[in-house]
């Protein structure tokens, strides 16, 4: 009964325009934020699954030095509801078709892969298939190149150690085909059960055991916490986040979504603030009347508070009802893009931001003007009071500012982003104040005329109060939308630049120093010159300023670089895509010093002048840090944590050389010639990985576009709401102007012009403010260089002018429909 009563009162409220606008704004806010966070969490899951395929699992545990992973670890994982698989990787000679060949073996259990799929063929001309299992016991799948190298056919026998296996497939792509430096030789894949019979793997041989885990994130985390104390230094725990190239792309996408969500929050707040202010203004007479009837201030506050709460409930319910179908639609699109179903589960946690947004928007923005209603004098019934003074609004603005700050912070969780955004908004408001002042100054002396132009200008001055608030809202909306567009395009450009069409997709590793020239000639002659060859020495970082490095670095820092051998190099020139952050690059003829990669230096807390000790084989080497440089890990060029001068001690150590280059798929046959000519050089094919990364970036791009479209739609709604907020006044004014002899055509033209001018000013201001915000964001978060975005920014004022004049025309329609007769009939 109480519920029906409240429903009835919401229905009654809904008859009021401003209430409709407030509730619509809330609905849009809740719908946008809810859709974005639902979709973001879905995307997150989809991408993590997609990215997990890079590990063929959600987590991998690697154990080097031939130590099998204890079986009770698997049991514990299973007990926790985590699925497991295992694999063993080692290199060995195989014999087949009268030839010997060194291969990299991957032996997998039945459950492999836990995530992602293997691409294989059952014969040279057969269909390519995606399968979710490895070879059965007794079978083996070969890399096609190896197949040709050994001249084997399907069904032939391949001897791995003491065990003969039947060739039953061509291995085209494995989900966890990332490049670890051990996987140098051509790949074969067999079943783990066959490994003991080969007799190849013995205690202490160079074998890598890998355990794969897949399950829910909290369980995985808990399992990791349980496992961690038992780790040996040779254990390495890998999660998707550690995959460098992809995780960077994902992080940016995630930030973009958060940014989008924050903008939605801001837009919603603006819409709610505008509408509720209108509502409060319209309610003053009612409040005065209620006071005359004997209602006290407190009772009036409670009355309106209850109303607000009801609207909040209505807005949230409406927003969620709207969000769900949009979300399921997006999920559907995503499934199609990913070519596999994405479970569109409802993640209730993702709805929290939407509800918090509604609450804060309502009580941070809608409540203050409504709260001030209790101060309305009962005298108002008899005589209207002068308009509100600006001073009383200050606490409201402060409260609203705090609310927005808190909200965006809560949503984005990044102070840098919040500061950049709100800084942009603040700068915008400051500029607006100035422009407002100038505009009033400039328009004051303008007097009307019969032309639409003059009328429009006079109207701008005449409505200077609402003109200013509308320009502010439009400019803010435009700024937010433009920021998003700009961030999106720089995001996409970044991704594009990261993996250009002819990014290196093959690595040559293990080139003996005396073969370097011959290898370079080989590719030069075949039209694929090698850009740059780097020497490489494998070594561990063991000492920092004379202390063992693991003690010198705080315990809670898990640094993979310390757990494994690093690739050390020497070079005379700083590579083009590296950049010095601190210190000096080696001078010509320098013998001492080491240049450290920036992120590693950060994590280890290294400074210029620190002394690093390396263990290389049985030798040790000690150098002082002379520079710190950034590295483009995504570039698919050989990259090094540590670089030494060419004339230093490292250059005297035994080394091999490494390079990367681009080879189109159509010319992959050249690799066979190369392997024959240089049997000791290893070829690492990463073209499949690059393709996968490209595909994922494409998905993320589409998601980003979808979110952008959603926000732009929300921005339009906000603008429409603001335009229509002045409808009541305009209706009355329109009727009056027509009674006083204004012609419809003139009214239409001058109104459209008025809004076009509004749009132009708002567009220019919004675009400039967006540039400022992007500049700040880029500086802090997206790590790009700032430049003016003329091509995006120039059309903005024009588009906003056109759009707003259409809005103006659209809201004029009911004004023109009102008969001037209404004035005689006391339109109040």
């Amino acid at each position: 009964m109480a519920v029906t009563g409240q429903l009835a009162s919401v229905r009654r409220d809904l008859r009021e325009r401003d209430v409709r606008v407030v509730i619509t704004a809330l609905v849009v806010a809740v719908a946008t934020v809810a859709t974005i966070s639902l979709f973001a969490s879905l995307l997150q899951r989809a991408l993590v699954t997609s990215a997990s395929a890079f590990l063929a699992a959600d987590r991998q545990l690697e154990a080097e030095h031939g130590r099998p992973i204890p079986p009770d670890w698997y049991q514990e994982a299973n007990r926790r509801g985590i699925s497991t698989a295992s694999m063993v990787e080692f290199s060995t000679m195989v014999f087949g078709g009268d030839r010997f060949q060194l291969v990299a073996v991957k032996a997998v259990s039945d459950a492999y892969p836990l995530r992602g799929q293997i691409e294989m063929q059952v014969g040279e001309g057969a269909e390519r298939e995606l399968v979710s299992r490895g070879p059965r016991p007794g079978e083996v799948w070969l890399n096609p190149r190896l197949m040709r190298l050994l001249a084997l056919d399907m069904g032939d026998s391949l001897e791995v150690g003491n065990q003969a296996l039947t060739v039953s497939g061509l291995l085209l792509r494995e989900p966890d085909g990332g490049f670890s430096m051990a996987a140098l030789a051509p790949r074969i894949m067999m079943h783990a059960d066959d490994v003991p019979a080969t007799g190849v793997v013995r205690e202490g041989s160079r074998v890598e055991y890998v355990a794969l885990f897949a399950g829910e994130e909290p369980e995985l985390e808990a399992f990791h916490r349980w496992l961690e104390p038992q780790f040996h230094p040779s254990h390495e725990w890998k999660s998707v986040q550690d995959g460098e190239t992809l995780s960077r792309s994902l992080q940016r996408a995630e930030r973009f979504l958060l940014l989008g969500g924050s903008l939605a929050v801001l837009l919603a707040a603006v819409a709610v603030a505008v509408a509720s202010r209108e509502y409060a203004l319209g309610q003053r007479d009612t409040v005065a009347l209620l006071k005359t009837l004997g209602l006290r201030g407190g009772a009036i506050s409670r009355l309106y508070l209850r109303r607000l709460a009801l609207w909040g409930v209505a807005g949230c319910a409406g927003g969620l009802l709207l969000a769900l179908p949009i979300y399921y639609g997006l999920a559907q699109v995503l499934s199609e893009v990913l070519e596999r179903p994405v479970a569109a589960e409802l993640d209730w946690r993702a709805l929290l931001p939407a509800l918090v947004t509604a609450l804060v928007a309502l009580f941070g923005f809608a409540y203050p003007p409504v709260r001030r209603l209790r101060q309305v004098a009962a005298m108002r019934v008899l005589r209207s009071e002068p308009g509100e003074s600006g001073r009383r609004a200050w606490p409201d603005i402060l409260l609203a500012g705090l609310a927005v700050f808190g909200l965006v912070w809560f949503y984005a969780g990044e102070l840098a982003m919040v500061t950049a955004l709100l800084g942009g908004v603040a700068a915008l408001l400051a500029v607006l104040a100035l422009v407002a002042w100038l505009m009033v100054l400039g328009l004051r002396h303008l007097r009307g005329g019969g032309t639409a132009w003059r009328l429009a200008l006079v109207a701008l001055y005449r409505h200077r109060q609402s003109t200013l608030s509308q320009v502010s809202v439009f400019a803010m909306t435009i700024m937010l939308a433009c920021t998003l567009i700009l961030v999106r395009s720089s995001l996409l450009d970044d991704w594009q630049a990261q993996l250009p069409e002819n990014a290196p997709n093959h690595f040559l590793i293990n080139i003996a120093p005396e073969k370097v020239d011959a290898v370079a000639d080989f590719w030069e002659q075949r039209g694929h010159p090698l850009a740059q060859l780097y020497p490489m020495v494998r070594g561990r970082l063991t000492e920092l300023n004379g202390q063992p490095v693991k003690e010198a670095v705080s315990k809670d820092e898990r640094i993979n670089a310390l757990n494994r051998e690093l690739n050390l190099t020497w070079m005379s020139e700083l590579p083009a895509d590296n950049a010095l952050v601190q210190g000096q690059w080696f001078e010509a003829g320098a013998r001492d010093g080491v240049s450290v990669e920036y992120e590693l230096a950060e994590r280890l807390g290294l400074k210029i002048g620190d002394r690093l000790g390396f263990t290389i084989g049985s030798d040790t080497l000690s150098e002082t840090v002379t520079s710190i440089r950034t590295v483009q890990w995504e570039s698919m060029q050989p990259n090094f944590y540590m670089a030494f001068p060419p004339d230093g001690q490292l250059a005297a150590m035994p080394s091999t050389w490494i390079t990367s280059f681009y080879l189109p798929t159509s010319e992959k046959a050249l690799l066979n010639d190369f392997a024959r000519a240089f049997p000791t050089v290893s070829v690492l094919e990463v073209d499949h990985i690059i393709e996968r990364i490209r595909a994922i970036v494409q998905q993320v791009t589409q998601a980003v576009e979808a979110i952008l479209a959603l926000i732009l739609a929300a921005a339009l709604v906000v603008m429409a709401a603001v335009v229509s907020a002045t409808l009541r006044d305009r209706q009355r004014e329109g009727a009056l102007l027509r009674t006083l002899g204004g012609q419809q055509r003139l009214l239409v033209r001058s109104t459209m012009l008025e809004f076009a001018l509004l749009g132009l000013v708002a567009g220019i201001l919004g675009a400039l403010a967006a540039e400022a915000a992007v500049w700040a964001l880029q500086l802090r978060m997206f790590e790009g260089e700032f430049q003016w975005h003329w091509s995006v920014m120039l059309p903005v004022p024009l588009v906003s002018a056109a759009l707003l004049s259409l809005f103006g025309r659209w809201q004029l329609a009911p004004v023109l429909k009102v008969s001037p007769m209404l004035l005689l009939r006391r339109l109040e």
């Binding site: 009071e385 006083l740 008969s819």
Partner: protein, 238 residues
């Protein structure tokens, strides 16, 4: 296109000519006849009071005379132009040049100052110096000190004075007023009617006014009674 200046200087002395004017509204299954075959003439410079019971159709008639609405049948000729035959926009253009209005509920725009409200019709008509003209008129109605005040800050009587200044701003040939003192007390009403009559005299305006105020009606040269949709003219008034 109506011309800027009245080319057809009316040959007759008639400012408003109403012939067989009828107005009906559709009430779904029924039609309500508000005005039935009304005919009368109003001469240039004449002041006319329209009186009648509430609901008798006075406001409707006034709206038709001013071309705010079109009649179901019949003709209205205002200053030589048949407005009942004109389109919306042409009627508006005619109003801009010829017609002033005073409403019972003032109808000032709340966002505008008194001055801006008065300037509105001048701007619409493309007046050369709207501010000066408006200031002058406001001074004339005794509000020279309140130019920058908004309607909220003015009393009802003051608001109506602003409205009168606005009505006379465009130097109209005809002034229509619908119960101009209806929302005011007797004393204020008297001030307003004095003002209305005085300005009317000064500018030689034709005045057509709906009123319940017997005193005000008395001050008009002529009285039209409306009852059950028909207009009658009491003999003794002439």
């Amino acid at each position: 296109m109506p011309d800027q200046t009245p080319t057809d200087m009316p040959s007759s002395q008639s400012m408003l000519k109403v012939e067989a004017l009828s107005h009906r509204v559709d009430l779904g299954d029924d039609t309500l006849t508000i005005l039935q075959e009304v005919s009368f003439d109003i001469a240039r410079g004449e002041s006319v009071a329209i009186v009648g019971r509430s609901g008798s159709g006075k406001t409707t008639l006034l709206g038709l005379l001013a071309g705010l609405d079109s009649p179901s049948s019949g003709r209205v000729v205002l200053d030589g132009e048949e407005i009942s035959a004109l389109g919306e926009d042409e009627r508006a253009a005619l109003r801009a040049r010829r017609v002033g209005f005073v409403f019972q509920s003032f109808q000032l725009l709340p966002a505008l100052s008194a001055l801006e409200n008065v300037m509105l019709p001048l701007e619409l008509a493309g007046h050369e110096a709207p501010e000066a003209q408006a200031t002058e008129l406001l001074e004339r109605v005794g509000l020279g000190q309140r130019l920058r005040h908004t309607p909220r800050q003015l009393s009802g009587g003051e608001q109506q004075r602003v409205a009168i200044a606005r009505a006379f701003a465009s130097n109209p040939a005809v002034l229509f007023a619908d119960e101009p003192t209806g929302n005011l007390d007797n004393r204020t009403g008297k001030t307003i009617s004095d003002l209305l009559m005085a300005l009317n005299q000064e500018q030689g305006t034709t005045l057509v006014m709906v009123t319940h105020d017997e005193q005000l009606a008395q001050r008009c040269q002529r009285r039209l009674s409306i009852d059950a949709g028909r207009v009658t003219e009491p003999e003794e008034q002439h």
